[in-house]
Subunit: 518 residues, 2 copies
């Protein structure tokens, strides 16, 4: 058996049944193995950042890794930004990077580069396969590594000759790493903390599932502890019927206000909060002075079980207070971020997956979604924009029975817009609400916040933050990639378009013309 | 003066007057400095791969570096593939990567990553600026480093606080590195080699200018030496009135046939040829067995002067035989790669810059261009596809008085399609002929060549090499980014569209529907 076939065959035996790919010449045998191993679903992306972002979204929703297949160092480079986001999300992910044949490396051919140096910056495990007899076992080690530390990227560099040579055989899967169980000492310390008035419980990473949220809600109900969710949750079950929890604000001053007066900060699956960027004269550490930080469970732990043990200790018999289901009538007329958010909340189907890369528009979206139909939110964990559309694609592959809604800022969309083509090819049930404000609106805000000054839209600096002249036409762009699209400028038209997208199968894009917030 | 202003101010004093950018929060002071230093032209790209590819194309044509401004590690990742191409081209390029403020790094904020590890894989020089008092001098050292070894990437990591802090001052430019002068021993050895019948002179890198080509032509005329140009020239003056020289073939067997029987291989600005990929049973080293390789001038040398010294030694008074100007009438009717190439050659304006990422279609294009109007060709030096459109954009900024024609394969175009938006914003005179064959046609060929087998278009493997279902509509895509576009399916329509593109100012895209070669 050829190396590539043993590799792909072993992956499906181990439960990896989807591979997002953008292959090249050195990956041709991996591609050919798709014919021999029909249980592996190959999903083609037109750009590597789409493939890596899709693998991230898939794993967050499926709870198991997808594979991603990239073409040498440049392919890895193109996929790096969304691998960065996956690393920050703690996503288990198997990244296979094809490489030159082993005896071709010495020729320093045009595509040769230092793949492992780049891979190490995002991966917890990196290995170059050296022999077709080892490649399947290497892949199984990679897969086991991907499950460690709560989920990480494992990168297997796959030389072309290891793929094409005979002598390989299927390898059995290795046991996946299990998260650390709750630590009684930590649970006791957290119990003491939440017994004091003014405690704050910050939830993140693995502590955002429906079960975890229920446990957190019971703790809050019994003790008065305030709940917060990290700013960019990787996979958060929220909406009506679940505890109503605010996200920690993006800007340092918002977060500091939310944490002001906390008697302690208990962390469940979340890291101690820090400012996204440094600003002149603003602290980077967002934990209030003198506020003790109590680590209940880190991201490599079974944070959900830890919350349940904490709830059993401090909230026996308590019932979580949950958000009601109420979608206020969206105000009619021209769209703004508030009416757009209200319309999205009102139209949200039960059990939807909401991929949120709305950036400046998100401040209005988050509260509107709190009382919308129960749903799951995926956010931009690593700050590398261009994650929304690929992640929505991956989520839709992972959960074909759930509608996916991507709420997507315009500037960010244009990094990985090619994702739409794969949505069309795979006929995925994704609705993209594309918020066109013709600007890098977040950067207008940041320009002022960093003390760099105000940017006149027409000035030389301001022009670098401006997406008009020309304003991208997202209906044209989506149509060009095979996704039916409409432009809307009023609440009524948005609601109508959301119905259209829901009632027809396959992906749709709705370009919502909304004035910039910044 | 703030660090960013001193940096930008020093760059313009040193002759760097264009910066292609995709900035974020950490780069806001650099952006703001554009208002204070109006001689620096900021050119916004919607994606970092566009900015890096544009900086490559700019420097190849302008003969001096542009700056490129990227946002932290993910921004560098997005720009990495075209930095790889620039590295392989030997392009001088100043890459400024914004980073978190120095005292923010310890917080391991979401966007933190190992920037220098990634930068080192493409850069000859990497440094992190530590103080606003040093930043301008650091930039001048970077610029000097970019001129070394015939041209390389210098990466300056710029922490936000170094940008925003006061205390900086303009720094004077440092002398640029000069290429090594011709080595008399090497010239003598080359003279001896070309005196023998059957010698081959392979030209590349810095030995492709009009002057260098003329010297090579005289050597060929006097000695009968065969001339070849490397497969992917970085900047080649060719066409009518210049020596008619074939490029070394892309596939190993083509190149081996071209070099078969060579009595010696003399290298001028080119490396000894190697196969692009390794294939089972095919040699990677393309120099025929027993053929001596004579290095006249490497890529860090003044290869043009070396050729002129060689010509003076072996071809005194000789006159180069040059290609006539003759554009055969393109055959009318439905387009194929041959009629498309003939039409492009017939319509090519004098002094055009042709950016060639035509891949499978290029085999017909190259011979057609040999007798077209004199022009300059830029090719895909590093094999990382998605270089054509950005490079055309950069070339057009460097040479606003020359028409730029990008001959662009469809699959590759979709990696960095965002370049069209910047062409529209800057109203650059670029005509894109987009060859739509609905496939990664080169990979169909490669699948068979690597011995992986034939791919049925509808099969599971074949589908990974297929761009139909849905077929991207490039007219829609271009229009969506503000570039007027037309679809053509016949020679007549292509010729008409080329006239339309030439007669109207600004960029145009012509989608040529052409059957796949593979």
């Amino acid at each position: 058996m050829r190396g590539a076939e043993a590799l792909v065959g072993s992956l499906v035996e181990a439960g990896v049944e989807v591979c997002f790919m953008n292959p090249g010449t050195s990956e041709m045998h991996f591609v050919q193995a798709l014919d021999a191993v029909p249980r592996m679903r190959g999903v083609l992306a037109l750009f590597e950042g789409v493939a890596t972002g899709a693998a991230d979204g898939y794993a967050r929703v499926a709870g198991k890794p997808a594979g991603v297949l990239l073409h040498l160092g440049p392919g890895l480079g193109n996929g790096l930004a969304n691998l960065h986001n996956a690393r920050r999300a703690g996503t288990p992910l198997l990244c296979v990077v094809g490489a030159h044949a082993t005896d071709h490396v010495r020729h320093d051919a045009p595509l040769e580069s230092d793949i492992t140096a780049v891979a190490r910056t995002v991966s917890g495990w990196v290995h170059t396969s050296g022999d077709p007899r080892d490649v399947a076992a290497d892949a199984m080690r990679a897969l086991a590594a991907a499950s460690e530390r709560g989920g990480q990227i494992a990168t297997l560099v796959l030389p072309a000759d290891v793929s094409w040579s005979e002598g390989a055989a299927i390898a059995p899967p290795l046991p996946a790493a299990v998260p650390y169980p709750p630590d009684p000492g930590r649970v006791a310390a957290a119990a003491a903390a939440v017994a004091e008035p003014g405690a704050v419980l910050l939830l993140g990473g693995p502590a955002l599932s429906e079960r975890a949220m229920d446990a957190a809600g019971r703790i809050a109900a019994a003790t008065g502890t305030r709940l917060l969710v990290e700013t960019f949750p990787r996979c958060w079950d929220t909406g009506a019927g679940r505890p109503r929890v605010d996200k920690l604000g993006y800007f340092a001053e918002q977060a500091l206000a939310q944490l002001d007066g906390a008697s302690s900060l208990v962390l469940a699956g979340a890291r101690a909060p820090v400012s996204f960027f440094g600003y002149p004269g603003v602290p980077g550490d967002l934990v209030p002075d003198g506020c003790p930080v109590v680590g209940l469970a880190d991201t490599a732990s079974d944070a959900c079980a830890a919350l349940e043990e904490l709830a059993a200790a401090v909230a026996p018999g308590a019932v979580a207070e949950v958000a009601p289901r109420e979608a206020p009538e969206p105000p009619p007329g021209p769209l703004d971020v508030r009416s757009m958010s209200a319309a999205i909340a009102a139209a949200l189907p039960d059990g939807a997956i909401v991929v949120d890369e709305s950036l400046t528009a998100g401040a209005a979206l988050a509260p509107a979604l709190q009382t919308a139909a129960p749903h799951t939110q995926l956010a931009l964990t690593g700050g590398a924009i261009g994650q929304g559309l690929p992640s929505a694609l991956g989520a839709a592959v992972a959960a074909p029975d759930r509608p996916v809604l991507a709420v997507q800022a315009d500037g960010s969309a244009l990094y990985t817009f090619q994702a739409l083509w794969t949505m069309a090819r795979e006929q995925l049930d994704v609705t993209v609400v594309l918020i066109n404000n013709s600007a890098y609106a977040i950067l207008r805000v940041e320009l002022a916040r960093t003390g760099a000054g105000e940017a006149a839209r027409s000035g030389r600096a301001g022009r670098m933050l401006d997406l008009s002249d020309p304003t991208p036409d997202f209906v044209s762009l989506a149509t060009g990639l095979g996704v039916p699209a409409r432009r809307v400028e009023s609440t009524e038209a948005l609601l109508d378009a959301l119905r259209w997208a829901r009632d027809e199968p396959g992906p749709h894009l709705i370009e919502a013309i909304v004035p910039a917030v910044g």
